[in-house]
Symmetry: C2
Subunit: 208 residues, 2 copies
């Protein structure tokens, strides 16, 4: 009886065993992230990725059964990077302002590698099949950091989740907009974003 697993969609077609093939896979993912970031989903073709990675198209399909599994690998790697950066920024007990500063710093760092990749992965790249799960999981964990912070610094307990959602999407909006304009490392913008976070979190609930 074939114990066929439903869909080896995001799975690799073949496991790389030697060092050079692992390097090939890594080069493909990195090149894929680069192509996706610079050309967007519409310009993301398997031939271009193979070319940018310096391997043949055949090698690409040796390890990734189709285009979606490749973008899935890119997504997973990038989200892991972002989450680890964010997690670092938001541990321990700190004053609100300190937390905001480190959060902004972390977000900027995470987006400096491939400025628009994050947004492309969230908005453009298709979410069929198995990616929904990974995506939701990322969003959930991502939001957790914000919720924890919000719970820690806000006086009122009500609507913490909504506040966290509003805060996180506001921060994302600013970061993405800045990334689009190559303004990620403008100090003035960083400062203002920190102020936005502080003002909202500390002030939310007293407006009347």
């Amino acid at each position: 009886m074939s114990t066929r697993i439903a869909k080896p969609r995001s799975r690799m077609r073949k496991q790389p065993r030697q060092a050079r093939s692992r390097a090939t896979v890594e080069a493909i993912i990195e090149a894929g992230a680069h192509v996706l970031s610079t050309l967007g989903w519409a310009g993301f073709t398997t031939n271009k990725v193979a070319d940018a990675a310096g391997v043949s198209i055949g090698s690409l399909y040796q390890y990734f059964p189709d285009k979606l599994s490749l973008v899935e690998a890119i997504r997973r790697r990038h989200f892991d990077q972002v989450l680890s950066v964010i997690a670092e920024s938001a541990e321990d007990d700190k004053p609100l302002k300190r937390f905001a500063q480190e959060l902004v710093r972390g977000m900027i760092d995470a987006h400096s590698i491939h400025p628009t990749l994050h947004q492309v992965l969230l908005d453009e790249a298709p979410g069929d099949r198995g990616s929904r799960a990974a995506h939701a999981s990322f969003q959930s964990r991502y939001l957790d950091h914000y919720t924890a912070a919000v719970a820690q610094y806000r006086k009122r307990r009500k609507d913490n989740e909504t506040v966290a959602r509003v805060l996180s999407s506001a921060v994302e909006g600013v970061i993405h907009n800045a990334a689009r304009r190559d303004m990620l490392d403008t100090p003035e913008l960083q400062k203002q974003l920190v102020e936005l976070i502080c003002a909202y979190v500390s002030g939310s609930g007293r407006s009347a």
Copy 2:
């Protein structure tokens, strides 16, 4: 026998003169907006648009010389709609909170028609060629409303432009995120977004 191959590369290949052709053009643009909104730029094919509009592919190319001129028409129409909605919300002198409420209301209304169209037009649709001008013009006028408001309500004059940029991209981020989740008309979210705006604009500049 004089074969006049004078091909004016204008916006439209041919001006619709009869009522039915004007209806055809309108149907194509509306269908295009719908396809772009639901399927994204990658799924935006001329055949699908023609199909959704209930016309043949030939009719589409009768009026639009190529795919880009079609997306340009969609962009222009949508941006005009959004700007008029925003402009209405932000005139006269009002208390800050009132302004924020009407701004949020206007943004939500503008995005309720085709929830993700705005974002697709900003991020995915190609920006080469002549669209840059229209795009920049929109961004500029768009930002003007924010800058005017910020100048009116903030105590400190410094960095008004940066503040306006941060505020507008934060609002956009929240709206886009809500649109993605079909949460645009959640009252709790609207309230929190209003509070975010008020807290930032009134509080910005007093954090030591």
